[in-house]
Subunit: 344 residues, 2 copies
DNA sequence: CTTTTCCATGTGAACGTGAACATCCGAACG
DNA sequence: CGTTCGGATGTTCACGTTCACATGGAAAAG
């Protein structure tokens, strides 16, 4: 037999108090882990909560504490592996910390769309923000809206802005480029991401650093949009010129599209052209040839972002953990330069 | 000069009321679009809200209405394109309808993990649930928890359970299989998904239906886990037997892994083996050979799920929209059967 | 033995909003 | 011209929780 045939209304803290024969405040204390509660009393309250199937009312709590226990994620993904994994990891980590996550997706990267998404998150009363979107623009908009919400950015240029997570994209890109140089390539093209993404900018920087250090000719980078389709398009254009022996693409999807175009153009990867990507998405090792790329720990990045943000929310000294340096994974898409092509 | 130097507390409905020289209730009426408000009054209130930069307090509203305006998404993804896109679309649609979305990700598909995720969503006071996870188990758990939250499932077996979204996965799988049969294949293997996913079950059903209708030999299906790595593993095993001329994989990732394994084993796709996938993820057309697959409209599915759920929340008659029938996309990975292999 | 302190608990108020009911006023109706 | 009605607005209360403060008693300190 059930203890009480709930009469419409959900049991509140006061119902529990009545059943446990204490004041509602004592129940509240049990709920919040207040130290000054006798064990026996606490147990009685817990039993009563169990009996009534009591569940705290989040809205009431949020109202009085003016804390929503919710963090917002501003993303701009259409389902790509990287951001999606990070978001999933963010949710896991937040859940573990007792926080909720609300994601707003950018339909476009126009200021209007950004304002829209931010307004939605603000309406939701998020306590903090994790930004995984064209950061440059987002920061502009954020500044313009004069909001004082703590935020954390998912990727950085390596210069430790305290609110940015330190993933050394520059080092990763540099390693990828150096790998090509070590293989003997002198004419390397960079297929970059949209330049309003900090990641894209950082990867280009790393690429240029390596090129300049090796005193090689710099080809003008191609500005892409992260998609495999664009990679294919770029590959078609590139194969008309063939004044290069390797391409470093700013992400795997573009690299895969690129390889497709080269294949269609009769170019062999890696014999005629070497290709290196960035991200190490799960299919990267299964395409033909398996893609040499830079491995990113997306889940780890998500976890750290949450840790960083929650730390800031608690007012803790921002303990920047060690930088994550993404690791180069050499597979079949990159190989030694082929003499015939070097002298174009 | 700013109207009022906000003294700590955010402006409330009463502050607006004072400034507009009306009662707080009038402000509330303006907020909720009550009809009986004089235009002049409404304007005065709106001006006051603007001047104070008033923003309604969600918690207070939720407390008094006991409606959170939040829907929950139970997902089980590690960043795959399909579910991720659907989730993004769900967020967009929900936002447009003034709802918030809270996603809980399943760490594992164990009952404990499911209970965990559901509890989190319930704590968040979600008004309804969209399930994109091993539905079979989730439904069991849901039943066991005796929760009366309306929910909608993202994919169905085709039999219109009123709470399930009608994507005719069976028809899609059938079309894929029939395509192989039409090409002359008689020995077709199915690389299935985990059987506690309704999608996996449906795709296998469609496969079997086509096979049986064509009176072909049924190979025992291989039960996979949706990942490319598993596809590769399965491909390695399969290439040891070679008593088949085509494989229908339950999703593209597994299909791509499969092709990789066949390549490694010296089998040519599609000459020696035809491969068909399911989903049409963005890389599908860029792998080598481009993958024949069944195209799914993930975003549309997400949108419809929201529409269905919100309809149910409003108590509207469940207007099941037309079924979505995914479309076969023929590319290079499938071709006519090669005689030498038919007689294995 | 008195005073202080601290622990365990209770009391009342406040958070910002919407619902129910009350009130006022002018128009329509008889 | 009185009565009724409904539109426009105001008043009061409730939602479920936490916070600030109060209280009583026992232990510690003098």
């Amino acid at each position: 037999m059930s203890p009480e045939p709930q009469k419409g209304r959900a049991p509140s803290i006061r119902d529990v108090a009545r059943l446990a024969d204490v004041s509602h405040q004592t129940v509240s204390r049990v709920l919040n882990g207040h130290p000054s509660i006798r064990d026996e009393t606490r147990q009685r309250v817990l039993d009563a909560m169990e009996a009534l199937k009591y569940r705290p009312n989040r809205a009431a709590r949020a109202l009085v504490t003016s804390r929503s226990r919710t963090i917002g994620v501003l993303s701009a993904t259409t389902g790509e592996y990287g951001p999606s994994s990070s978001i999933a990891a963010i949710e896991d980590a937040a859940r573990e910390a007792g926080y909720f996550v609300n994601t707003a997706n950018l339909a476009a990267s126009t200021p209007a769309a950004i304002v829209d998404a931010l307004k939605h998150l603000v309406l939701q009363d998020v306590e903090g923000l994790i930004v995984m979107a064209p950061q440059v623009r987002v920061f502009d908009v954020l500044a313009g809206m004069a909001m004082d919400i703590p935020y954390v950015s998912l990727q950085s240029t390596g210069q430790s802005d305290h609110r940015a997570l330190a993933v050394d994209q520059i080092a990763g890109a540099r390693a990828a480029t150096q790998h090509l140089i070590d293989l003997g390539h002198h004419e390397i093209v960079h297929l970059a991401g949209p330049q309003d993404w900090i990641e894209a900018e950082a990867r280009m920087r790393g690429f240029l650093d390596a090129i300049i250090d090796a005193d090689l000719r710099t080809h003008p980078p191609i500005l892409g949009d992260w998609t495999a389709d664009f990679g294919y398009y770029a590959g078609r254009e590139l194969s008309r010129y063939r004044d290069f022996s390797a391409v470093f693409a700013a992400n795997d999807l573009m690299a895969i599209g690129l390889m497709h175009a080269f294949r269609d153009a009769g170019l062999d990867v890696p014999h005629d052209v070497s290709v290196v990507g960035f991200d190490d998405i799960p299919v990267a090792q299964h395409v033909s040839p398996p893609l040499t790329t830079v491995h990113q720990e997306f889940r780890e990045v998500g976890r750290r972002a949450v840790a960083l943000l929650l730390g800031e929310l608690r007012g803790e000294p921002v303990s920047q953990s060690e930088e994550i340096v993404p690791a180069l994974v050499v597979r079949g898409s990159s190989g030694p330069v082929h003499a015939a092509l070097v002298h174009y």
